[in-house]
């Protein structure tokens, strides 16, 4: 379906995007508003305007430490998840064997099972191995719940065209490894990227697994946020959440200015174009 050049089409599109934006951002406006409170509790509409909570959060070493830990764990976990998930997706894409459908669904189990049960199972498992409280176990726990995202998304992006192109390449004399490197992987790239982004975010946001597996000294960011919500109730949490939103937007702008977003999100079309 060509993007009609007509004005009505453009207006409809813009209106639609606006609608989605309102839906997706609505609670975040509340969060940003709450973060500007001068008072020490989460009033909405905000009572007085102040940046004190941003200051409090940015200067507090505990929040900074939690942020660092969460970023580090998420980076390692999502990397490992990307590898395992991509390979698995390629195997499932080509494979024809009985029970394939069941296996595709089965790989989603870590997402389907509520985090409390997975966390409890991992807790007892790692406790038996005496690995509780190590970052190693924490990373492994995060890999378990994030690699299904990569696998499923990559599988979904390996459309039928991939097979045609692969066939064409092999007819032209490329062996499997070259085909894999030059045809399959680039075609799967948007899927791999999307899946890894999901894996990173899921790991970064994770509460239940982390609650059970973190070391005494390690307090990940979502745990600190949860504790704060339960036991402090100041707008500091709103401030940190708003900071993330601004950071993401800023990051996107920086990427656009320097490398160019097209390197990340792909050119306008893929394939023969």
């Amino acid at each position: 379906m060509q993007l009609e050049a007509g004005r009505t089409a453009a207006v409809t599109r813009a209106f639609y995007i606006l609608l989605i934006a309102v839906f997706v951002l609505a609670p975040l406006f509340v969060v940003v508003a709450v973060s500007l409170n001068r008072v020490a509790f989460t009033a909405f509409p905000p009572r007085g305007l102040s940046l004190r909570w941003y200051q409090a959060v940015l200067t507090d070493p505990q929040w900074r430490a939690s942020l660092t830990v969460s970023l580090w764990i998420a980076a390692v976990a999502s990397l490992l998840a990307a590898c395992a998930g991509t390979l698995g997706a390629i195997g499932l894409h080509r494979g024809r064997f009985p029970g394939r459908d069941a296996l595709v669904a089965g790989f989603l189990s870590p997402i389907v099972l509520p985090g409390l049960i997975t966390g409890l199972a991992l807790l007892f498992f790692f406790a038996r191995l005496r690995w509780t409280g190590t970052n190693f176990a924490l990373v492994l726990g995060h890999v378990v719940i994030t690699f299904p995202y990569v696998l499923r998304v990559v599988l979904g992006s390996l459309v039928r065209e991939t097979a045609t192109l692969e066939e064409a390449a092999m007819t032209l004399g490329a062996d499997e490894l070259t085909t894999f490197r030059r045809i399959t992987l680039p075609l799967a790239r948007p899927g791999i990227l999307a899946g890894t982004i999901f894996a990173f975010i899921i790991s970064f946001d994770n509460i239940t697994i982390s609650l059970f597996l973190t070391a005494p000294r390690t307090v990940t960011l979502p745990i600190r946020i949860l504790e704060h919500v339960q036991w402090a109730g100041t707008p500091a949490v709103a401030a940190i959440s708003s900071l993330f939103v601004f950071l993401t937007v800023a990051l996107a702008l920086v990427v656009e200015r320097t490398v160019g977003l097209h390197r990340v999100v792909g050119e306008e079309t893929v394939g023969f174009g």
Binding site: Y16, A21, P27, G91, A121, S157, A174, P190, G191
Partner: protein, 320 residues
């Protein structure tokens, strides 16, 4: 045997040995990774290893726990019994919660699909800059912790919340609309964050659909709508399947949104399970509920996958 010579391959004599070694390694890799009978298994092995060693194995302990008989103030093995499963599966109250859970999953999937597919289309056909903007837009809710997000929704959807205040002020209603503590509020809260999980897979799949295919179909005289319906839509179905599977799974296992937005009377399997693990401390029963969640959701996902395959047009040898 003609191998396409990769760009930059060394041709000097000192590298001949290296070339031979590399070629042998390449043949080995091809044979093992791609051509052998076990190649699929090898590709799947990291994923399977994680699934079995780090997921199924730890769950075995909880499966055993689910067969214990619970007694307060103690936690230890008892003679095995299926009582916990029987208690859940043979009771109208709990069976209704299964239905409600599946209903929540399906409704959320349909809502995100209806809203997300057009956006994925727009993204696929836009410039990189617009695409990047939409990507950030869709991912932003995930940047914010779930408890914070849900408190935001409570402020908006509550009886004294923003929506009601606005509607009352405009005179459109004279009694506050009950949005909080209904399934609608939970779907809204879930859809907002699961939106990205539907849009991105569809977007990725659409990127794989060559524009030339559409142009060819259009040249052959098909209207834009027919091109979409018979070319683009079917070829994007793997993405739709992936997005739907993710959204459904996330909805079924969600806890915070059903508890805080659905209210105490909104019983889904996950909230009932949490109750058993944290409030009644009846871990055997809680573990049993967990496995029932896993079973019913996986069953639904398998059925969904089979249905998807039946809908999508068949091509010899490479159906999804």
């Amino acid at each position: 045997m003609s191998n396409v010579i990769p760009r930059g391959w060394p041709t000097g004599r000192p590298d001949r040995l290296l070339r031979l070694a590399a070629r042998a390694l390449r043949r080995l890799a091809n044979a093992v990774l791609f051509r052998s009978r076990a190649s699929t298994l090898i590709q799947l092995s990291p994923g399977l290893l994680i699934l079995v060693a780090l997921f199924a194995l730890p769950l075995l302990f909880l499966a055993w726990v689910s067969l214990w008989r619970h007694s307060p103030n103690s936690f230890g093995p008892t003679p095995l019994t299926l009582e916990n499963y029987r208690r859940f599966l043979f009771d109208g109250f709990f069976l209704r919660s299964i239905l409600r859970t599946l209903q929540l999953g399906i409704v959320t999937t349909l809502v995100t699909l209806a809203l997300g597919y057009p956006l994925a289309l727009i993204m696929a056909r836009s410039t990189a800059r617009v695409r990047g903007f939409l990507l950030v837009l869709v991912l932003t809710p995930l940047m914010v912790s779930v408890v914070v997000r849900v408190f935001g929704w409570m402020v908006i959807l509550g009886d004294t919340g923003l929506i009601n205040k606005a509607l009352l002020a405009l005179g459109l209603i004279d009694q506050p609309l009950r949005i909080m503590n209904t399934m609608a509020a939970v779907v809204i809260g879930l859809a907002q964050v699961e939106f990205a999980f539907m849009v991105l897979p569809i977007f990725s799949a659409l990127l794989g659909v060559g524009r030339s295919l559409e142009e060819a179909a259009a040249t052959l005289g098909a209207s834009p709508w027919r091109v979409f319906r018979h070319v683009v839509l079917p070829l994007s179905l793997p993405g739709v399947a992936a997005g739907s599977a993710l959204v459904f799974s996330l909805s079924v296992s969600a806890f915070v949104q059903p508890q805080l937005l659905g209210g105490s009377s909104f019983f889904v399997m996950t909230t009932l399970m949490y109750q058993q693990i944290t409030a009644t401390l009846n871990w055997p029963f809680g573990a049993a509920i967990g496995f029932i969640i896993l079973g019913t959701a996986l069953l639904t996902l398998i059925l969904l996958g089979v249905a998807m395959r039946k809908i999508s047009p068949r091509r010899a040898g490479h159906a999804t």
